[in-house]
């Protein structure tokens, strides 16, 4: 009986911790979002977050997208050749990139680059009393640090995904026309024939959600940092890991919402 209780307690404790953390994150998100509609607004902080997330993430997202498109074209060509269905390469590349790979890979790249930086910056501010200093200077830290980053994330990721979509398709186009013998005009015709508005829109909506999740986890883990350098390191790791898992989980949920019959 005692060992059974201990086993149940062993299961129950982490479940309760998970529920408690989920509740805290939800309250943190609501608080952060509520500041987006209540003045004063910190435009400079928003622009800084947008530039940091969108502009400075452009190279890494662009390279990821173009190589992903190239690999996708090669893989689908060799796979479809077994069924003499090589003609489907263009549509597979464009649908995979716009619906899934563009938003997911951009999200994961930005989570690694920006989510970690956010957690480290805010975490360092926490352990060096800078967040308390903000409060003593009549500035709500949630309004100054969190809300602009959340909005920056929501807007930056869709911008990056537009670029990723274009470059991903371009990567597939380059490989298909230079190595796989496709006619350029026929490849483009095939690409745009099978592409529908919902494919692009669903990818952009996913991107906005992923951008929000990256900023949320970066800010939350940074804001809750305790201790010194070790705490900042732990917050950075937690921000990247939690954002990456949430991106993949929400990708499944959103795909189900958009495309399940």
């Amino acid at each position: 009986m005692t060992s059974l209780a201990a086993a149940l307690a062993g299961i129950g404790r982490p479940v309760l911790t998970l529920c408690r953390t989920a509740g805290r994150v939800a309250l943190f998100a609501v608080s952060g979002l509520s500041h987006l509609i209540r003045p004063p607004f910190h435009l400079r902080m928003f622009l800084r977050a947008l530039v940091e997330m969108a502009y400075f993430s452009l190279p890494v997202v662009a390279l990821t997208a173009i190589f992903t498109g190239m690999v996708l074209a090669l893989q689908s060509y060799t796979g479809f050749a077994r069924f003499s269905a090589q003609g489907a390469v263009a549509s597979v590349v464009v649908l995979s990139v716009t619906r899934e790979l563009g938003p997911v890979l951009a999200g994961l790249m930005v989570a690694g680059r920006v989510g970690a930086a956010m957690a480290a910056e805010i975490g360092t501010m926490r352990v060096t009393d800078q967040i308390d200093a903000l409060a003593t200077l009549s500035t709500d830290p949630m309004k100054y640090l969190v809300a602009p980053r959340l909005l920056g994330g929501i807007l930056a990721l869709p911008m990056l995904v537009v670029v990723a979509d274009i470059l991903g398709v371009l990567g597939g186009f380059i490989v298909s026309t230079t190595s796989l013998g496709f006619n350029p005009a026929a490849y483009l015709h095939s690409t745009f024939t099978y592409l529908e508005t919902i494919d692009v829109v669903s990818g952009l909506v996913k991107a906005a959600v992923f951008g929000f999740l990256i900023a949320l986890m970066g800010c939350y883990n940074g804001y809750m940092t305790r201790g010194g350098a070790e705490g900042v390191g732990a917050a950075t790791t937690a921000a990247v890991v939690s954002a990456s898992i949430l991106i993949l989980a929400f990708d499944y949920v959103l795909t189900g919402l958009f495309f399940s019959q």
Binding site: T128, Q130, A133, T136
Partner: protein, 260 residues
């Protein structure tokens, strides 16, 4: 000094972290225009006391009255108005790394008084001059400054909005004795010039005597002694005597690793 009601009045303040009761019923009055220094050992709850007064931590029990109003019972907007009258010098400066010195100093002015950035920059230059820093410093970032300069910038930021109440957390920690004396002098000048009510926490006896009109000793979560800062070294209280003279034997038992 004023004989009117206290500027800050604390009654029965309690704050615990888990099982550990850090503040155990603090009663404290600080009169308008006076400087009180709270001394106490490391981990005695001095910083917690200041953070509770500044609304950075929520006490478990007790009242904190500022100008006769219990700030813990005020709605958020009214509470923000009260805390707009406060300046704080943090132990390590807590300067914003991503902002240049002038913007650090003018941060409160920009947030509270809606001045333009140009006006704020000019004002920041004037305030930096008051703490002995030249205009060439205003464009630098905090990481480019020495410890003493960072402390001066932090002091400039604390006094920039001409606050009615000033709080100092270990203002001379980490500074050499000469620089410590310079910072103490600047603090006394600023407090006198602004006519502010000040609360400083420190375990630097020289600083405590220099800054404070009065001193109070925090021990085991309570104020165990209060008197003129000049009488700190001859208080007649065994706790204060042990602390100020740095004696190993006495009522303060230090917990050392390994049960030594």
């Amino acid at each position: 000094m004023s004989a009117g009601p206290p500027k800050i009045r604390i009654r029965g303040l309690v704050k615990s972290f888990g099982e550990k009761k850090v503040l155990d019923g603090i009663d404290l009055d600080i009169m308008q225009g006076t400087s009180l220094v709270v001394i106490g050992g490391s981990g005695s709850g001095k910083s917690v006391l200041v953070k509770c007064i500044l609304n950075l931590l929520t006490p478990d029990a007790g009242t904190i009255e500022i100008d006769g109003e219990n700030v813990l019972a005020l709605p958020p907007r009214a509470r923000r108005a009260v805390y707009a009258k406060v300046g704080m010098l943090f132990q390590n400066g807590a300067l914003f790394d991503s902002l240049p010195v002038w913007e650090n100093v003018a941060f409160g002015l920009l947030a509270r008084h809606r001045v333009t950035r140009g006006e704020a920059r000019l004002r920041a230059g004037e305030i930096l001059a008051q703490v002995g820093l030249g205009p060439e410093v205003s464009r630098l970032f905090p990481a480019e400054l020495s410890g003493g300069m960072q402390k001066r910038v932090a002091l400039a930021r604390a006094i920039a909005a001409r606050p009615e109440m000033l709080f100092f957390d270990e203002p001379t920690t980490g500074l050499d004795p000469i620089l410590g004396a310079v910072i103490d002098g600047l603090i006394v000048d600023c407090v006198k010039r602004l006519g502010s009510t000040a609360l400083a926490i420190t375990h630097d006896m020289s600083s405590a005597q220099h800054i404070g009109d009065e001193a109070a000793m925090l021990f085991e979560g309570r104020i165990v002694w209060r008197g003129p800062a000049t009488s700190l070294l001859a208080s007649g209280n065994p706790v204060v005597d042990q602390f100020t003279h740095g004696r190993r034997e006495g009522p303060i038992k230090m917990e050392l690793c390994g049960g030594m």
